[in-house]
Symmetry: C2
Subunit: 417 residues, 2 copies
Amino acid sequence: MPAPSASIDPARPSWLPVPDGSDFPITNLPFGVAAGAGGPARVVVAIGDHAVDLESARSAGLVDLPAEATTGSLDRLLADDALDAARLRAWELLTDPRHRTATSNALRLRVDLRLAMPFTVADFVDFYASETHATAVGRIFRPGDDPLPVAWRHLPIGYHGRAGTVVVSDTPIDRPWGQRSEGGSVVFAPSAQLDFELEVGAVVGRPSARGRPVAVEDALDHIAGFVLVNDWSARDIQGWEYQPLGPFLGKSFATTISPWLVTADALAPYRVPPPDQRPPAQAHLRPPGPAFDLVLEAEVSGQLVARASFAGMYWTVAQQVAHLTSNGAGLRTGDLLASGTVSDPRPGGAGCLLEATKGGSTPFHLPDGRALTWLEDGDTVALRGHAGHGPTRIGFGPCRGTVRPAHDLHRPPGGQP
Amino acid sequence: MPAPSASIDPARPSWLPVPDGSDFPITNLPFGVAAGAGGPARVVVAIGDHAVDLESARSAGLVDLPAEATTGSLDRLLADDALDAARLRAWELLTDPRHRTATSNALRLRVDLRLAMPFTVADFVDFYASETHATAVGRIFRPGDDPLPVAWRHLPIGYHGRAGTVVVSDTPIDRPWGQRSEGGSVVFAPSAQLDFELEVGAVVGRPSARGRPVAVEDALDHIAGFVLVNDWSARDIQGWEYQPLGPFLGKSFATTISPWLVTADALAPYRVPPPDQRPPAQAHLRPPGPAFDLVLEAEVSGQLVARASFAGMYWTVAQQVAHLTSNGAGLRTGDLLASGTVSDPRPGGAGCLLEATKGGSTPFHLPDGRALTWLEDGDTVALRGHAGHGPTRIGFGPCRGTVRPAHDLHRPPGGQP
C-alpha cells in the first residue's frame, strides 16, 4: 500500500460522537491489537470510546488490505509502511456519513476489548536523553563530580534492553528477585528498591540496511509511531550489577508499553523546536530534527507523582536514530527506541522515584499523605501522555502495571533463601 | 516430535567416507541453513565434506518432519525442541547401509552451499565469564585497583547486545564509524581500534515462561546447541560511550556467528567439571553444572593469534541461564547467550587484541613478523573450535569475517567529516 498523498482534515468531524477529553478524537486514530474471541487477534483503531475492528472492516470490503495486515499484530502494517494509509482510510470511514452504516458494524466498545502486545519488538534500545534526569542521577551517584558523564553532551547515550520481556499495559509486574549488596553482604532477595521510569518509545516501521547509516534528516521517515514506556527498574539490583557493562537484570524483568500506537502522522502537528545543544552536535547529528510537545504524567495508585514535558529532551528522536545507525547498524521493523526517563526541571517533574526521592533518601509525599520511597506490592503505576491542550488534544491511553509480591520460587521449603 | 529415547552410537561408522580431521564426523551432525537455488532456504546437516539436505530427505519420505521444519531456518526445529530427534534420524540415514541409496540423493557437497543465518536471534546477551579476560581488562583500565569488578565473583555479569546485527560467517564487516576522544577533542571517524572477541554462544531452544526462573539444574534443557561468536568491538568507540550504561555502538555494528549449530547432544560427551568458585556461588546458582572441554582458536589472516580453553570459564552456561532468568525474565527460542571473550592464562591465550596488546600498548607479533595492534582493512578473522582430540574430535567449522574499509557515506563531498 503506497504512502497516502492526502492527509486527514482535522476540521472534519466524525459522525461518531467522541466524549470531551477523550485521548482518541478523530485526529488521533491510533492502532492497537485486540485479542480475538476464539479467533486470531485483530487490528483495531481507537476512536473515542470505540474502536474500528479493521479485520471486520476488511471482510466487509471497507478497507483494501490483506488479512495478514488486519490480524495478529501490527507487524505487517509496520513492515509495509502502511499505517498512514490505513489511518487515512479509517478517517474516511469515520467522517463520511455514507460509510456510517457499514462502518458501524465494525465498531467495538473499547471496554470490551482485551488489548494485546501491538507489535513484535525487534531490538529494544533505551536512551538517556533527559539532561535533567541524567544530571540528577549523576548528583546522586557521583556527588562532587561533574554530574553528566563525559560523553553525554556529545552523543545520545543508550543501551540495549531485553526485547523479550516488553509487555503490554495491564500485565502484572512481579517484584523481581536479585542480588544486591547490603551491609557488607551480598544477598539474593526480592528487590527492595523497585522503581518506574516515565518514558516515550519510538517504534520503527521502515527498516534500514546494515552498512547504510540513516541521515538525521531522513530519520523520522523510519518512525511509524510512538507509545508510552515504563522501564521498570530495580535500583538495588541495578546498582550492584552494572559495572562495567551496564544495566541487565535490574531492568530485564519487565518493560511495559501502552497498547495504542499513536502514529507519527498524528503527532506531526505537535512538532516543536528542540532545546539548544551546547556544544553543537557533530555534523552527522545536525540539524537535530523536531522535539514533540507531549506532556507526560505518572501516577502511583491514582496519585500524581510526576508531570514532565517531553519537549525539553536534550536529544531528539531523529538524533537517536542517526546515532544508532551511524556505525552501520541497521534498523528492523519493530525496533523500539525508548527515550530514557523523561524529567522536567520544574517541581514535581522527576520521572522516576530514584530522582524524586534523591536515591531513596527523601520520601516523596503523595497527596494522600503516604510517604513513598520505592514501589510497594499492590501499587499500580499508570503513565499518561498527551499532545496539545483542551478539546483538540490527543493522548496515548494509559500505560499501566500493578506490582505483585515476589513469588516464592526461590525460597526453599520452610526457610529464607 | 518428542525427545528421542535413544541416542546415537558413536562406534557405528557412516557409510559415507569422512576425511580425517573433519570438523564434522558422524558423531557431530550439526545443523545449518543453505540458501536455496531460487527456492526457500533449506535445513542441512553436515557430515564430512557433505551435507544432508533435510528438505530433500523429507520430500523423499526419509524424515518425518513438517516442511516448516526443513525450510527457511532452524527456528521451527528449535521451537519444537526437535533437533535431537532430527539428528538421530540423520544418524540412522547415514549409518544404516539400507538407507544409502535414498539418502545419497539428498547429499550436497558443502563447498557448493551458501550458508545463511541458521536461526532468528531473539535476544542477544553477552556475558563476561572468563576470569582471565576480566582480570586483564581490569588491569588495563583500572591499574592499581582490584582488577575484577566488585560483583564479578558473585554473579555472571552480562549485558544485552543488538540481535538485529548478528550475521553469519563470511559476511563482510565494514569498519564502523564512531565518536571517540582523541587528544582532548571529540572526533567522528572510522574506528582506529577494531578488535575481535573469541567467544562461544549457547542457543536457546525450549523457551521458559516469564515469572518462572529456570533452576540451574534444568538450565541446559533449554540450550539446543552452540555456535562460535566473534563479538567485533571498536575499542575507541566503546571506551568513549560506555559510561554509565555499557557498550552500545562499539559493539552493535556486527557480531558474527558460525553457520553450524553444534547440538547440545553432540557436545554432551565433552562435559567436564568447571573451575572451583570462591566465594561459592549463591544457592540458586549451585551446582554450577558442567563446563565444556572446547579448545578455541583465533586466526588473523591465516596466522594464529589465540588459543584458549573454554573449559576454564569461571561461570558456566547453566549458571548464566539461571542468573538471566532469576529475576523472572523468560527465555525465548533463538536467544543467543554468548560467553564473553574466552581467554586462557597460558601464553598466547588472550582471546582479543585489547588483551593481547595490553590495550594497544604492546603489538602482538604474528608468525610472519607483522606487528599487529588492531585489525587492519583486509584482515580476515577466523575463529575455530573443537571438542576432544585426534580422530574423534568434533568441530564447529570456521566463524569468519573480513574487514572492509569504512564507507564514505559520512564524508561530505570533497572533504573530511
